[in-house]
Symmetry: C2
Subunit: 526 residues, 2 copies
């Protein structure tokens, strides 16, 4: 018997830009710091010709294009030019040191590196350490006065010249959907960086998760500001999700300070913005000091790390927006859970439910599922088509025998299915043989209006092994007494959980992802 | 070099109910006509045990379970029980004759038939004509007084007994995502019925289209009434989309009259309802005569055929809802295009844009793409992972050399990318060697407030070959003069397009899909 069949349709990422170019061709991608705008139709055409130029540099399907770049139009062009023909985008973080970057480039054996302008010293230092690099492509996506890097042992191209001289229309999408599309090393603040490989299929499926109405729910009429670097888990997937629905895309370039973002949001009438809490703290601090309103803004999508309740409340009130909390990891592409925009309880510690396509499981230390998945704290494991199975270069799977990836996070799930990350398993403080969970203390102190950022770390103690130290960054110009801090904790945690010391910092050290750098805090105050 | 990889994740339909059971386990599926409610968690458990019972009847992966049933909980259970283990659901329309149904069952060689109660005469007649049928499963999903069919040559089971006696937990989803999941014969009003085969992957991808915010954009807080029969292209995909997001699902059973729907919408606080225009005409007619408001209702999703402008306006005003027009076909799973809920122009003839994952192309008669895709009318072709490539039992592909499926529809696409179906290529009337498009005349007359339904068909004419005849169903109790009808047309169409005759009917003949039955109209009045 001959069964009928649907048409073949490979889940490749070039289709998102193809759809945008055809059905939302006049919609724009706007780059903030190097004022530039281009339509999806034109971006598609330029990217497609750039594919031909990458071929001229010797890149073939399965090869990498390394990018060291901010969120700009040129970076988008490089992505789609590469991915359209099956070249893998290896996104690198310009805030890392040349030593770190050279290791990543060496591990991936990259031959072509595309860089944003304004990074001349880093690029010169880096290329000197990378014998595999043959070509450096300068994106010219910053101010014209930026210094041109001098690279030895590699040929330097300006993107515009490369496109002019070697651009050629190319056929996109003629490869298997399971081909790799991206490579992103984890930030390494909790250990050695690990490479996470995304495939076309895994990123396509991840995009279908983002598009669900209870998740990011983007519409063609939205204007989306992506204040998440494209080198952090693909900018949370927005460079795919925005063209998929034909939403106007606003990229801040390298300037993510409050004043720059406020200007950009106002000028482009941004309706949805995504970024870590510290970015939005900068925005409201700027608005509070300089004044101004951002009436177009309707939703803030928060991720990266837990946001203090007081900051979430302040963001919603000052900006008149709905804050959607979320939880994710580079290993999850990155989305693991998100709070729907319509959730009635506005609790910053809750990260919502997993989208259709992602599943969560709480286990004990050994990996056995907790008998009750609603209420008790357990180790969080994840399953799904956008979740890592095997790190780049690893023989061994990163998943357990049942296919679950162990996040290393501790979490609870409430009766409604909403996830709360309650701590990192490795952040726990062991005092007198018993565990203290820093995240619980941080949640309480973080809810104080006087506190901007808070962290609790363990300090070695002769008698107890470890004791908790409370580190706070008060809000600018505000003083907060020890009694206020400890008073908030008394009665809400066990007495022996009360911190032994309180440290006040004017600026909390942040890791390169914008998360609080606990490794640094432990080194300085532990 | 070892590339990393994401986890394997097969796109199988059981995952939708699995997700609902785990993350929205307390949400309900409510059946209207046989008042019953069950949670997703319990439906998943019952369906999973029913899989074991289907195995006991001898059904294996790749076999069919034929269903002849209304939209009920039991029908959902049969679907997931079958699809969970790779058995193909062949959905049959109880409004067809036994002769027609027997042919479909014969072509698919079905051995097991599951039927809704209340269909005893049809089932008895049908089974008598189907020597392949070995088991008939009675769903008992209607009033207890319904007659039990007497089937000869096959064994009759009550679903409850089958589950009780043979139910056994089963492992779901252990097969390739390209395995067939469903079979649906087209309505055959425009030719011989053709079987369309859906695979797990094609229906999974189709569900991701529905979930996009500019398409159906369902949320977990929604209450979704599916007044589209599950035997019409899988009830437009709602039995997959609703559990995927954890929306409460309301199934009307066999009662789709205005009074029944009004009761159900009010009682279950339905927020989103889907169905063809004639169903909603029945609803507003009922409300106008009996009174009442339906404050929970926010959106009506319309499909099946074009809705007259006057009816769309009346629905929006009387119900206080947003009407989302759409266009689809059985061959498209069925969604081809949908108007976003936020569209500002409320034009019933426009069906919106294709979702990400579906692409449209206008061609000339020979299949060559029109040079200008925005404005001119062309033949509509479709591409995508949820679009037919090959009909059931056909050796030949239904797609052209470039992979496009020819819909047989004429269409235009406006500057915003919004699709308007302007006619069926085969509905065109040839008068004096020139084409008249009935759809244009229907759109104008359909916008008159006095007119409920309208159709234009060709009548054989000695001199001109064919001439157009206007057939109208005025709104109940309202008279409409020839002069009103013709006056609306004069100046808006060519004079030689003006209909030669006007026929008034108190009830337009409807095909089994709810569309106007033009074959019948041509036979009676052509």
């Amino acid at each position: 018997m001959i069964f009928g069949s649907p048409q073949p349709y490979a889940l490749t990422l070039d289709k998102f830009l193809g759809h945008a170019a055809k059905w939302h061709g006049a919609k724009e991608i706007v780059t903030g710091s190097a004022p530039a705008r281009i339509t999806y139709a034109d971006l598609r055409e330029r990217s497609n010709r750039l594919s031909g130029a990458l071929a001229a540099l010797g890149l073939r399907q399965g090869d990498h294009l390394a990018t060291l770049a901010w969120n700009t139009q040129a970076h988008m062009e490089c992505w789609y030019a590469a991915m359209g023909v099956g070249i893998v985008c290896h996104t690198l973080n310009p805030r890392l040191t040349a030593d770190h970057l050279a290791k990543m480039i060496g591990r991936a054996r990259n031959r072509v590196l595309a860089v944003s302008s304004g990074l001349a010293p880093l690029v010169e230092d880096l290329v000197g350490q990378c014998p595999t690099i043959e070509h450096v492509v300068l994106m010219d996506d910053g101010p014209a006065s930026d210094a041109i890097p001098v690279v030895t042992g590699a040929r330097l191209w300006h993107l515009a010249d490369l496109l002019e001289g070697h651009g050629a229309p190319s056929i996109w999408g003629r490869f298997d959907e399971n081909a790799p599309a991206g490579l992103c090393f984890t930030s390494g603040t909790t250990g050695d960086p690990k490479g996470v490989t995304y495939t076309h299929r895994s990123n396509y499926l991840h995009t279908t998760h983002l598009l669900q109405a209870d998740v990011m729910g983007l519409r063609s009429e939205d204007v989306v500001l992506v204040a998440v670097p494209m080198f952090h888990a693909n900018g949370w997937g927005f460079p795919f999700a925005a063209p998929a629905v034909g939403a106007k895309l606003v990229l801040p370039g390298r300037d993510q300070d409050g004043a720059s973002l406020a200007r950009l949001i106002a000028a482009e009438e941004v309706s949805v913005a995504a970024g870590v809490a510290t970015v939005w703290l900068g925005l409201v601090d700027h608005l509070d000091s300089a004044g101004g309103e951002l009436p177009s803004l309707r939703r803030l999508l928060l991720g990266g790390s837990a946001v203090p309740q007081a900051l979430m409340d302040r963001l919603e009130q000052r900006l008149g927006v709905i804050v959607q909390t979320s939880w994710g990891m580079t290993e999850l592409s990155p989305l693991g859970a998100m709070m729907p925009p319509t959730a009635t309880a506005r609790i910053s510690a809750k990260s919502g439910r997993p989208p259709m396509g992602v599943d969560l499981l709480l286990t004990d230390e050994t990996g056995l599922p907790l008998p009750d998945q609603r209420g008790p704290e357990g180790r969080l494991r994840v399953k799904g088509g956008s979740v890592v199975e095997r790190y780049f270069g690893d023989d061994e799977k990163a998943t357990d025998a049942d296919g679950w990836f162990d996040t290393g996070d501790l979490a609870t799930i409430d009766a409604e299915g909403h996830l709360s990350i309650t701590g990192r398993a490795k952040d726990l403080i062991k005092s007198g043989g018993e565990w203290i969970n820093p995240a619980e203390i941080e949640a309480i102190v973080g809810s104080l209006p006087e506190v901007a950022l808070v962290a609790v770390v363990g300090r070695v103690h002769e008698k107890w092994g470890e004791r908790p130290i409370l580190i706070v960054e008060p809000r600018a110009g505000i003083e907060v007494s020890d009694e206020t801090l400890l008073g908030a904790l008394r009665g809400r945690i066990a007495n022996w959980w009360l911190p032994d010391a309180i440290v006040r910092l004017t600026a909390m050290p942040l890791a390169l992802t914008g998360k609080i750098d606990k490794m640094r805090l432990r080194a300085d105050h532990g």
